[in-house]
Symmetry: C2
């Protein structure tokens, strides 16, 4: 059974619904995107020339090899799961909004910075609630390559 | 160079911006989701117990092994690229909204049904425009496992 921390001490991660408030921020580790990984993901899930082949990509709207947006989303998720969003019960999303303002290139090093936007206890389920989190995925220049606003199911402390 | 089809004949795919109108629908092929594929995707991109291990998943909110939502999104993309959304220039998304109303289970067979919601020529770039497409990913029972509303960049006919 999980209990609340002693009064006056800040809660330790993983965070339950009760520990979260708008404005809280989390930063993930960093992941380097290798060219072979870009092509392997694309071959399995997004087999388009600009994700698979440097020459075809150079002639495309991207002007060079670019990761699939779904690959960027998947790497972002791994960074969040590996500590970038230390929520109790894991990361269970009901849905999200995604945008890819800039392509991810071979060799990019990605980091995810997240901020809690809203915390809403469930009316029908007293053991949980919904937390809205905005996550920006940044490259090594600090440029935003993906924004995600996700609604996550988070348990309350028992 | 691509030219418009003869007057009076419906355009053949792949479809340019000029060929698209709200209400047009496309249906993809079908993809079966194998348990090993669920676990392999999760190991790489969403390493949480309910995506990796049957026993841990049985005790979780999912009540059994479930595919990562990002895996469902990636499979949906593959089905769209392989013919489920026959758009000229490929499928280049600026962003989207996603929801996962129901888990994807081992052995599920997924199909994507898409509908054009809006077609908007670019004001600044006369060679292209933005098309809003709603794609529902259905399992073999016809239940919706993912909805996606995506904004896609689509070229105009020359």
């Amino acid at each position: 059974m999980t209990t609340a921390p002693p009064a006056g001490e800040p809660p330790l991660p993983p965070y339950f619904l009760d520990d979260l408030a708008p404005g809280q921020r989390f930063t993930s580790g960093t992941s380097r995107v290798e060219p072979d990984e870009i092509k392997a993901f694309a071959a399995s899930y997004d087999p388009q020339p600009f994700h698979l082949d440097e020459q075809a990509a150079a002639a495309s709207l991207f002007g060079g090899l670019a990761a699939s947006g779904w690959h960027t989303a998947a790497i972002t998720m791994r960074l969040l799961v590996e500590g970038g969003a230390p929520l109790a019960g894991g990361l269970i999303g009901a849905g999200c909004e995604l945008a890819w303002p800039r392509p991810v290139r071979p060799g990019d090093e990605l980091t995810v910075v997240s901020e809690v936007l809203e915390v809403r206890p469930s009316r029908s389920r007293p053991d949980r609630g919904m937390v809205t989190v905005r996550s920006e995925t940044l490259n090594q220049q600090g440029e935003v390559v993906q924004t995600m606003v996700a609604k996550l199911v988070v348990p309350r402390r028992a």
